[in-house]
Symmetry: C2
Subunit: 555 residues, 2 copies
């Protein structure tokens, strides 16, 4: 069974590897939440499966279960009531270590096959996962289906592809023959074994539990490391379903299901630091706040630590030949999931003296008004607005909007909206502030959520300089630039190399700065303080395993 | 010129990449120190070039030179008297950062071409390098030519090959086309830039400055990171020559020579910690003692840190069908460079009740005597002995031999020898002790130098168990096993996976446990405390650079 998964999915895996090399568009997981693709019953079955979890006990196979835990509440305004196994890590970790050798010795092909089978089964549960992601993160349903479902599956497959390619770069065996002049050559038979580092820990984030979580989970599992999944206490269900699917496939393939296990804690009694410092944990993947990411990097010396932390993303507006399309594009980027994305733009640098556009020269205030009007129009239809905004994941973010109002001139105020299906949902439209670069430090801090800051600068050169300094000091995951001048685009691209930030230029159509495509776009660079790693590249997988060789004289 | 180096060396580079994939024997650098290969005048010219350095000023091109420094003494008993530039790092590092963008923007092909040209010029100076290595490390001449010259060049080329392959995995450009059902597809043009992390620091070791130093140096340089070479204060000249060759080729190719620079300090006023903590330093390669390696790993959070530290290497003797050949093989391994190798065996585990051999069952003491007699015979000819032993690099090692005598039963005492050419050379033969595993902790500590410990154990199972525990707690780079029983070999191989150690089985001929071959054997695994990295693999290169992308709508 284990080998047959590899045979079944070999072609998918090879196509994924090829896509990561060509960086062309490809995906085996259709992103449309459509019954035509997934089966006419799939949407209703997915919703029913989600509802069946509510107010029940979620079952996982792990040694050391001692009671239940969990108190998630949907950002749409109701308690999930799901109770998860509470596990004693002093019993769990040794059991996972005991399961390691069998998983290690199964080899790269078998492990990759199991991982891709897991991803395919997750794909078939995309509607259920979408509801689970929606009602923990606050994402709107369509986004939850894509970012939480199919795109996350893509990111997981991408990691398996890199891992498989990296592990199989070294042959399992070789006959080595070294000439010795007139004497007989030296001949050695060498065997190369891929071994995992140990146990891996994936620390989930509250907003994108699967999209940010799968790359590390699958990179670790494919390279032989049993994985402890530690979800954010407010966003457990999507990862619980994912772990259950992992366990199901592992069992079907004849492996110990506890090779992927889940440890749940609460905000009041967090366990992550204890887990992260355990000597058994040799790989850590983390997405979340900068202070905790820094702590992991600086304290968990026993582990390889991969972090995606916070940054301040910038847009530089120099000029445009399509003000309307630019405003529309930015309106979507600022509204999508209420800016609760590590890729959402925050600072928009605009020259104090205004810019050239297809509508003539516009002053700073006119540009500001055009952007505000773009958002206003885009969100004028409440049904469309809520289907893009989703709900605010954390009450902290709501309070951040309140506080931010006082920090600059309000160009567009944030307003509370009523969700058509969920009257208690926390729905808030973006707040747009303006400040002058010369007298404001506001723009230099991350303001997570639907808060954008228009920064008046001396010139486009000044804008680029400030964005670069900010990326180098605070980190950034995305940059965007608007200019009709190719030399400005070139200078911005040079600055992107200095700041180590991905750059989008003149986005007007259906591509947005806060979205990246697996296999083609890199998410984060690992080259500035926002992240020490990138999803996904060879560096993300190649140090999760080591190679041990043996050699003997040829027979 | 810069591009032509790539064209000249493209085939060499491709062959090197291929060799790292097949792991078959290959080398472009002939290892025989022969005038027939390198030119009849090469040996004499190399010696003359070495002598021309003595008692002179070594010239390098670096901003911030403020005086001279250096007081190396040959382990063969004379002062080198070479004075090196003393450089102000507050002036040097900014100059290196200023040189970075041009080197970065030259791209992977140009950088790889320059690196391979450097290695080829180093190869032509192998005799000069051999004398420089000999008279700083104490290696005998033939070994210095190989380990310090051609094999080091191999390890450098191997690193360039991995780096080039890793950097070119991502295309420079791609047109990305995503279907949108009945609508027009989304089309984006994407550009991918390889960028270095920043400045790299290579901290040299006193015993193998080039062999252990080149991999990090060339991996960093090829991936675009300017390199600060910080030699051990007792072993400067081989790296100084190497840096000079780097600078010569960089200049010829039109780059700033300070892209590879050297910072020399003294044992009394060390500068390595200051350098290693500088924010400009983003990559560190280190070979040396465990405490300093641990310090680097735990404190230099701004940098990627690759360390090769100390370990305790084990041999398990279970049985043999060729006692004589085994003893000869081990005699060479224990004698080579007086055991001053991180790959030299230290602990030899033998069952207390003795072993089966082709000469019948032998008691523990009889095996010990056979091993001692092997060393005695091998070193009976003083010329051959000194040509293998070389000289003791550090006075600390001489004192360690003295102290060790009291720690166990002396099976073979270390004796001082007179070198035929250098009467003041520190030449010492191996000390072999025996201890019982039950009442001795001696074997659990690294005893660097010509000191071997025969450890009497309950059984081969006990031997394997102790070796494994030792590898996991103290680290190990090499293991060796002798057994006529295939199931014992299999159990030792399983243990090697647990300990994360490279294993050699039943070595009898011209392959020795302390030698590894570039392109085929991995040096260290990175899977136990002896090293956090391996020479060389994809993990060693792939995190020295990052990829920054830009994208725009297709024209």
């Amino acid at each position: 069974m284990a080998q047959s998964y590899f045979d079944t999915h070999r072609e998918t895996l090879e196509k994924a590897i090829q896509a990561t090399r060509t960086r062309e568009y490809w995906s085996p997981f259709p992103e449309a939440p459509s019954g035509k693709i997934y089966g006419e019953d799939a949407p209703a079955q997915g919703e029913a499966a989600f509802k069946a979890h509510l107010n029940g006990s979620f079952s996982l196979e792990m040694p050391g279960i001692e009671g239940e835990i969990g108190d998630e509440r949907s950002p749409y305004g109701f308690n999930l009531g799901v109770r998860y196994p509470k596990v004693n890590i002093d019993k769990l970790l040794p059991a996972m270590e005991a399961a390691l050798p069998t998983w290690r010795d199964a080899g790269p092909e078998v492990r990759a096959g199991v991982c891709v089978e897991i991803l395919h089964r997750l794909n078939r549960r995309s509607f259920e996962l979408a509801h689970a992601v929606m009602h923990t993160t606050g994402q709107a349903f369509a986004m939850a289906f894509q970012a939480g479902g199919t795109h996350a599956q893509d990111r997981g497959l991408e990691a398996v592809a890199y891992a498989y390619e990296a592990m199989t770069r070294t042959p399992a065996q070789v006959r080595w023959t070294k000439p010795q002049g007139k004497r007989d050559p030296l001949e050695m038979d060498k065997t190369f074994h891929v071994i995992p580092r140990g146990l891996a820990l994936m620390i989930g984030v509250s907003t994108f539990p699967t999209w940010n979580g799968y790359p590390g989970m699958f990179a670790s599992l494919a390279t032989g490391n049993p994985v402890v999944v530690k979800p954010h206490p407010h966003t457990i269900l999507p990862l619980a379903i994912s772990v259950a699917v992992c366990q199901e496939v592992l069992k079907d393939a004849g492996f110990d299901p506890c090779l992927v296990s889940m440890v749940v804690d609460t905000r009041e009694a967090p366990i992550t630091k204890d887990l992260a410092l355990r000597p058994e944990i040799r790989v850590i993947d983390y997405t979340g706040s900068t202070p905790f990411g820094d702590w992991l990097e600086q304290n968990c010396h026993q582990a390889q630590v991969y972090t995606e932390k916070a940054g301040v993303n910038s847009i530089v507006i120099d000029s445009t030949d399509n003000l309307k399309a630019m405003s529309q594009n930015l309106a979507f980027s600022l509204s999508l999931y209420s800016g609760q994305m590590c890729t959402a733009p925050q600072d928009i640098f605009i020259p104090r003296d205004g810019i050239q556009t297809d509508q003539g020269h516009l002053s700073f205030d006119q540009v500001a008004e055009a952007l505000a009007e773009g958002v206003r129009k885009f969100l004028s239809d409440n049904d469309r607005a809520t289907a893009v905004l989703g709900a605010i994941q954390s009450e902290d973010t709501v309070q951040r909007i309140e506080r931010a109002r006082a920090l600059g001139k309000v160009v567009l105020d944030s307003e509370q909206r009523e969700h058509p299906q969920f009257p208690d949902a926390r729905v808030h439209t973006p707040l747009i502030l303006s400040v002058d670069a010369a007298d404001a430090l506001l723009y230099q801090e991350e303001l997570f959520g639907p808060i954008a800051v228009l920064v008046a600068t001396d010139s486009t050169e000044d804008s680029i300089r400030r964005a670069t300094a900010l990326a180098r000091s605070k980190g950034a995951i995305t940059w965007s630039v608007y200019s009709t001048d190719e030399s400005v685009l070139q200078r911005m691209e040079n600055a992107a190399l200095e700041g180590g930030v991905s750059l989008s230029m003149n986005l007007l159509g259906g591509v947005f700065v806060n979205q990246t495509a697996a296999y083609s776009d890199y998410h984060a660079t690992g080259a500035n303080p926002a992240a020490n790693a990138c999803l996904c590249d060879a560096a993300f997988v190649s140090n999760r395993f080591r190679v041990v060789q043996s050699r003997r004289h040829a027979a």
